[in-house]
């Protein structure tokens, strides 16, 4: 039986993993495509690029103070120009395409070549898209979700690292890193991914290529902070979670203005914990707070229990394999677990200024990959982690609990997408209130007013409206906060 599970896939089943990815992505896209282009964080992005050239848009972003994201708005401009005025179709279509590309790249990265891999894949994908850190990458438009773009870059980086070493791979790796780090700050993580992949034995990117990537990162810091005079975000940029509540910028300044280091440290630790245990969320210890007040919500229990159990499983595997790692003996599963362990703390550094679940989405991607790798080992060996000392069996009930828990979270993200469609429509209905509440003036010129009218009509008046769904008491299992 063991041999059967580890047997390579037959020819006709080799494309099944990709079919799985496409099916999951297509189904999610159905829900995604029902969400209009959102008003908050998206509308002004469109008006900002409407009457300017691509060159102007990109150049202006090089001097944007504490944020350095020239290609993010550049990408918005490209899709805007290509849309021909059909903003909803262009931007939501782009996001759906990004989702499909991501899932295909992830499946390619996971190298599903055995029956055990095929068995573990649905749960691996459920973990990937059901994880709370992924929610922000799919529920938000912005109007192009740069976090989703960075996830694609992460998966592409591993694919490149797994490739046959060739100069062209090094060149593409360099282009990928430059694109990612000019899109959003956390794009720098692509360098960490390349480095981690090299450490675990993937040689698609050569040592010389890695040196070039490292030089590129150094150049980024020199360029951004020395030549362009950029600065890191301060405490007064936005509200942030701390302890059991969210502190506004003034309160953050009052508490940590003199010495922000404890706050940064808190955020880094919180970010790591957020990925591993689904607590805290956005820096706020909501589950713990609920526990102290009584019984937490059902969805909180589902999230924390499934994440914690999965982390324990990965941790148990890693601890058992440590001695082999020291000897440099790494299996395919080991590589994914090790990359995850390297990426998590590095990713958390990007959440130092303020912790937000979606910032940790790259770590979440590798968390899902590590979980898939361990589950594949379990599937191949009948519930025993095979290369560990004896006694490393996993209780059947725990496996079932994990699988059911992640399935709830997987279904829940579709529920959240449906809810998002409704809230975005209502958001547009209150456009006048939104405009009045903005800190900066949002008076519109003729072009911008036409964009607004088009988007508002698409959001409010466009039939058919798909209603929200209620499964009665089952609704309590779904995370309504994401």
């Amino acid at each position: 039986m063991l041999e059967s599970a580890e047997r390579p896939l037959a020819d006709w089943t080799r494309r099944l993993p990709y079919a799985c990815a496409l099916a999951a992505g297509a189904l999610m896209s159905v829900f995604l495509l029902d969400i209009p282009v959102q008003l908050s964080d998206s509308f002004t992005e469109l008006t900002a690029v409407a009457d300017r050239s691509l060159g102007d848009v990109v150049a202006a972003e090089f001097y944007n103070g504490s944020y350095f994201r020239p290609l993010r708005r550049g990408l918005n401009k490209i899709v805007y120009d290509l849309s021909g005025g059909r903003y909803y179709a262009a931007f939501r279509g782009f996001q759906a395409a990004e989702l499909l590309v991501l899932l295909l790249l992830v499946v390619r990265m996971l190298r599903v070549r055995t029956r055990a891999g095929l068995v573990a894949l649905p749960l691996g994908l459920a973990i990937l898209v059901g994880l709370h850190t992924f929610a922000g990458a799919i529920l938000e438009g912005l109007p192009i979700n740069h976090f989703l773009t960075i996830l694609i870059c992460c998966a592409a980086a591993v694919n490149l690292a797994q490739a046959r070493p060739r100069p062209v791979v090094d060149a593409v790796a360099l282009a990928l890193l430059v694109f990612a780090m000019l899109t959003i700050e956390s794009g720098l993580l692509i360098w960490v991914v390349f480095l981690a992949a090299y450490i675990v034995g993937y040689r698609g990117v050569s040592r010389k290529g890695l040196v070039a990537l490292t030089a590129c990162v150094a150049l980024y810091f020199v360029g951004r902070f020395v030549l362009l005079g950029g600065a890191a975000p301060g405490l007064n940029e936005r509200s942030a979670g701390f302890g059991f509540s969210v502190l506004d910028p003034d309160e953050l300044e009052r508490r940590f203005g003199g010495n922000p280091l404890p706050f940064y440290l808190y955020n880094v630790v919180s970010a790591v914990s957020c990925v591993l245990f689904a607590e805290p969320r956005g820096g706020v210890w909501t589950f713990t707070g609920s526990l102290t007040r009584g019984v937490p919500e059902a969805w909180q229990i589902v999230n924390v229990v499934t994440s914690t159990a999965t982390t324990v499983l990965i941790g148990r595997y890693a601890a058992g394999r440590l001695s082999s790692w020291r000897r440099g003996e790494l299996t395919e599963a080991d590589r994914f677990v090790a990359i995850f362990l390297i990426v998590v703390p590095a990713n958390a550094l990007f959440a130092a200024a303020y912790e937000k679940d979606v910032i940790m989405s790259p770590a979440g991607l590798f968390y899902a990959a590590a979980a898939f790798a361990v589950l594949r080992e379990l599937a191949a060996s009948g519930g025993v982690l095979p290369r560990l000392p004896s006694g490393a069996a996993v209780a059947p009930a725990l496996l079932l609990l994990l699988s059911v828990g992640w399935t709830i979270r997987y279904v829940g993200i579709h529920d959240s997408l449906r809810m998002r469609a409704s809230t975005v429509r209502d958001e547009w209905a209150y456009y006048d209130d939104w405009a009045r509440e903005q800190k900066t003036d949002v008076s519109l010129n003729a072009t911008q007013a036409a964009i607004k009218q088009r988007l508002q009509d698409e959001a409010v008046l466009r039939p058919p409206r798909v209603p929200q769904v209620s499964l009665g008491s089952m609704d309590r299992l779904f995370d309504v906060t994401q």
Binding site: M1, L2, S4, A5, A23, A24, L27, V30, A116, V119, A120, P122, L123, L125, A126, L375, L378, A379, A380, S381, G382, G383, A393, P396, L399, L400, S403, V404, W406, T407, I408, Y410, V411, H414, S422, R425, D426, W428, A429, Y430, D432, D433, A459, V460, L461, P463, R465, V466, P467, Q468, V469, S470, L471
Partner: protein, 157 residues
């Protein structure tokens, strides 16, 4: 545990989850909407539920925002009612929607009854209705109590 047992535990739940969601989408595409939350068949129902976009959609489609429309049993309480959009929004306690409806041209013909509703359910919109008492202490009477009080002549107070 056999590999087949492990495989079942690992693979079946997520595959079943996918099939369920896909089946739901398929059924919905056929025109059935099982488990759908009420979405507002009239502008008053939409207002009671706080569905601003749906309310505007219905107004744009020609529904009279100032007229009384049916609000099905189970939307504001267990009874069926005839309410204006503004009254329904007040009973649903959606202050922003009351103002949005006003900006969209909705009026409240039975002003005394509307003000009575607001006084009992949503005092913060009294000013928007042209009445006094917006600064009155917060109170939130039940929907049934509000409707029965205001219908029994409370609106004249």
């Amino acid at each position: 545990m056999t590999p087949a047992g492990v495989a079942t535990r690992i693979a079946v739940p997520p595959v079943a989850g996918f099939v369920l969601v896909a089946a739901y989408v398929f059924v919905e595409a056929l025109g059935f909407q099982p488990f759908a939350r009420p979405d507002g068949d009239t502008v008053s129902e939409a207002a009671a539920l706080g569905h601003a976009a749906r309310a505007l959609q219905l107004i744009a489609a020609g529904e009279d925002a100032s007229a009384r429309h049916q609000v099905r049993a189970g939307v504001v309480d267990r009874e069926q009612h005839e309410l204006t959009a503004i009254e329904a929004a007040i009973l649903g306690r959606h202050a922003e929607l009351v103002r949005l409806l006003q900006r969209s041209g909705a009026r409240h013909p039975d002003s005394a009854r509307t003000v009575c509703y607001a006084r009992m359910r949503l005092p913060e919109v009294l000013g928007d209705l042209g009445a006094t008492g917006a600064d009155a202490p917060h109170q939130e009477s039940g929907v049934e109590t509000t409707i029965s009080t205001c219908s029994a002549g409370g609106g004249a107070r």
